[in-house]
Symmetry: C2
Amino acid sequence: MFDKNYLLPSDALNLILKAIQDNTLSTERLRIEDRYGRITASDIVSSEDLPGFSRSTVDGYALNSADTFGAKENSPAYITVKKEIFMGSIPDFELKKGEAAKIPTGGMLPQGADAVLMLENAQIVSDDMIEVMKSVAPNENVIHKDEDIKKGETVLKKGHRLRAQDIGALAGIGITEIEVYKKPVIAIISTGDEIVPPDKSVNPGQVRDINSFTLSGLISEHGGIPVKKGIFSDDYEIIKDVIQRSLDGSDMVLISGGTSAGTKDMTSMIINDIGKPGVLFHGVSLKPGKPLIGGVIDGRPVLGLPGHPAAVVVCFDLFIKPIMDKLSGLDSKMIFVKTVRAKMAKNIASAAGREDHIRVYIDERKGEMLAVPILGKSGLITTLVKADGIVVIPHDKLGLDAGEEVAVNFF
Amino acid sequence: MFDKNYLLPSDALNLILKAIQDNTLSTERLRIEDRYGRITASDIVSSEDLPGFSRSTVDGYALNSADTFGAKENSPAYITVKKEIFMGSIPDFELKKGEAAKIPTGGMLPQGADAVLMLENAQIVSDDMIEVMKSVAPNENVIHKDEDIKKGETVLKKGHRLRAQDIGALAGIGITEIEVYKKPVIAIISTGDEIVPPDKSVNPGQVRDINSFTLSGLISEHGGIPVKKGIFSDDYEIIKDVIQRSLDGSDMVLISGGTSAGTKDMTSMIINDIGKPGVLFHGVSLKPGKPLIGGVIDGRPVLGLPGHPAAVVVCFDLFIKPIMDKLSGLDSKMIFVKTVRAKMAKNIASAAGREDHIRVYIDERKGEMLAVPILGKSGLITTLVKADGIVVIPHDKLGLDAGEEVAVNFF
């Protein structure tokens, strides 16, 4: 049953990535607020130092560290407190030998100070005198001017997905607008004479459209813009027409359904008939997801997805997501998959040469995380609803043993 | 330096969660499109079977499995092909003994059929006759009526965070609107006489507002609505006034800055002066994040956050996120932290009794993932920009050894 001539998923994916590697990506200039998750379209260089002055990291006394050398609780140093420094203002004085100034966390160090003594290590002797109970090293409790970011320094590289702290850093250096890549627009075409929209009642023989809803959610979550084109009959002219219309204005086209024997040759034929290079592979060594069709038309990926809901989710992870990353401008040198460690709750077999993606739920028994396989057919959407994630059996393994440690790719 | 009387982070958090456990949460009724990440406010029960009829999972021949028993390649069974079943339509005939009907993937089984023979296991003999090369078991290649979801079955429980496949399942059973909890509204107050907005130029002694941008991103990403109230002076009346105004219309109030010795007593005093129960803890056994203030006023959590950017991110993970989950209606019985496994690149020490959160970046050397600690001060935003995630040293460990396997909580 299993065709050894099929490509491994990673090899199939590379065919598509190679065919779109020279795509030019559009950019837009946006305010930093709510740009969380967007991808930088250029290196971002600071035009100023952060902080712009040396500041204290604690509440205490700014002083010259040399004045405290050798100070201990039983032989304190005595220092004259000259003034108090206030938040946000420039100290208008210079500390001389043996002098200190009270300073709050974040306050600016005065001239002549190179460290800050923490409040709790000082004993107040009089209005203008403290005992230093502990010596401080040069630079102790101080963030230097430009210690965080130097003027001219590259703060974020091109192709970086912006996280909350990155937006914080941009705010910190006064950058309020940045150039990011546009979100990729992904068209979703549902095919099948038996498919009806969810708000219509179903007759026997008909089922509601599940996959375009699942796909839309996955695409949005991964930073794309899903555009549902509707439900279309399995007819050459109709499908060809909607694929052509969808190619105009989107960066990738997904065809849900239409890849099983009955219609797969038609979908392949249409992709080849519309443009070059056309179909790059038809079928992959993957379960679920075997009947996947991958093609490219004039630089735009066109995927014919299997109809089974579980296959759609697996194909999203293995194909659509990395293609979206490429179309989003993400520098993919360092993409890590976040997983949860667990132990397999039972043995599970796999065919050699095929990559198996097993839906599992996590069960905690006696403080141990167990990954319990969900054995229902991949055509059942509830197998995905009950699952917490997926465990991959690589093509060169014949299965997993009960008790074996695995990495669960959480949904 | 380290106060043994401080609470562990988890104990401090529980004080807040306990004080808000009886909060009533608001709900809203919304279309399922783009409801990804929202939390269900009631159990969702199906009013129909999915599928509504028995359907084939392959392209092949619907038949009675008993007719194929014992069939092999060298001794096939012969079966009469009566009709063809089309997608989306009801077969208007019944199969008798020895009869089959051609059926596409997803097609409806006719009366009299209990299994489907795959196309590749049939040999066409004539227009209306096939050889069956392989026996099929009852129910083989069939999804039964109601096998996915039964009428009256609870598909999703109350308090469930909706994932893409959950939305797909709802579409599948014709549910297009659901009741979800409203997103929690989180007010962010920036305090400090030295803080200026990012679009203003800074004088020496001043720094731009970083934390409210970081917090907004983290809150949005985690399903909340951040509302920036602005930057306010460290003055009792001013801060009291803005906290009171913020409590009106939000579910939680965050005060960024104002927790170090200079102002911490004031923030605590204000929280206690506004309402009950007031401050629940002041300071936690945590690094970075020690000066955190946690309070509740009339059922609304009010947190005084440390000013250091790294402390803000750690306090978000340990406090704000679980409080948001509670305010969002999430059933938190099963919340898993997604991590990346790595080995520590160097030794790192920690004080006993304190939970240490170490920023790390991931480096791949010879195929091995290494977690490299970033040793800069927690006041530096770039330590977070350079970091991929955080490694936790629990309060009962004195550090981590180079080569020790750790779980990296990715940002």
